[in-house]
Point group: C2
Chain length 187, copies 2
Amino acid sequence: MPATKSSREDAVAAITAVFREFGYDGASLSRLSEASGLGRSSLYHHFPNGKEDMAAAAVAHLAGLATDGILAPLDGEGDATARVKAAAAGISKFYDGGRANCLANLLSIGEAATAAPGAAKSLISALENAFEQVAVDAGFAQKEARIRAEQAIVEIEGALVVSRAAGNNAPFQRALGRLPEILTGGK
Amino acid sequence: MPATKSSREDAVAAITAVFREFGYDGASLSRLSEASGLGRSSLYHHFPNGKEDMAAAAVAHLAGLATDGILAPLDGEGDATARVKAAAAGISKFYDGGRANCLANLLSIGEAATAAPGAAKSLISALENAFEQVAVDAGFAQKEARIRAEQAIVEIEGALVVSRAAGNNAPFQRALGRLPEILTGGK
DNA sequence: GTCTATAGTATGATAGAC
DNA sequence: GTCTATCATACTATAGAC
């Protein structure tokens, strides 16, 4: 593996963290440069279209993390409840236990919506479909499964918002704990 | 009423809308000036400390709207369910039927947290206390009332996030419809 | 692939006339 | 109380050496 590849991957991870904490407008090139350890010109070498490219890379990176850590476990082996528990662990990691910003909200604020159009919608939609399928696998009818999938996402996102506002991870962790009950009835 | 007063009030309302749509970092003086119809210097006349003052005024304005439109109905006359329904109508208006940004999230991103420290926490805390009281009035024990109050806030905020991401107000409206059931058991 | 240096623009903020 | 004109700074982005 060439040093090139890992350097860019490292940069993307660092850049993603900055966008996540400060939002699109707050993520200045100074901050992005400092966090990635790359000078301005190096950033433009990796991301020719500048900040817009960096934001796109960050969104793609997050989509990859969500796919590997959340969607894949839901689509994996084992009974429905076990898969939901694995996904809950993945969600906790994805949101740093409740400390990271709610992604869907970040992507809908200010210029972010322009830089990554539809990103939040497609991420949430993919998760909702996976939740629905696992609920069907657990024995719920399609219609009921869809309702429960939406309810699960609502509770996760809401608990994340409350946890961050209150500076207390408990609501988020409680929501994750309720996931098996919501999606599979505990079966 | 002097023209002075109404002019400033109008400006605060316009400024609030800009902060709400673009976040703290995205709310540039150009945008704030255009939205309020005031030149840069006029803005600094009304808000001597500049952008920071404007953000503080916006937060105070939103807190006032929440108090009048949501907290007051909860604390008003009538049975618990009627008060919850009145509050639900207030919440819908506050969030423009599900089109406006989730406030708690906005206030926790980037520089906004510095400009209005603790604002999200105190707003959510006030709402949680009011919800808890109405659940107690409906006959729930204190502990159960607290759980239901938190659940209500989680569902509202979560549904708002999902609605905005999906570009569909239905989840938010459904969450508001569930409020009486959650907080008063429909009583 | 990374750097220094810098262009060009937008930002937040001020001064002073009216 | 609002304006025009302007400041200093930070921003995104580019040029060109190594």
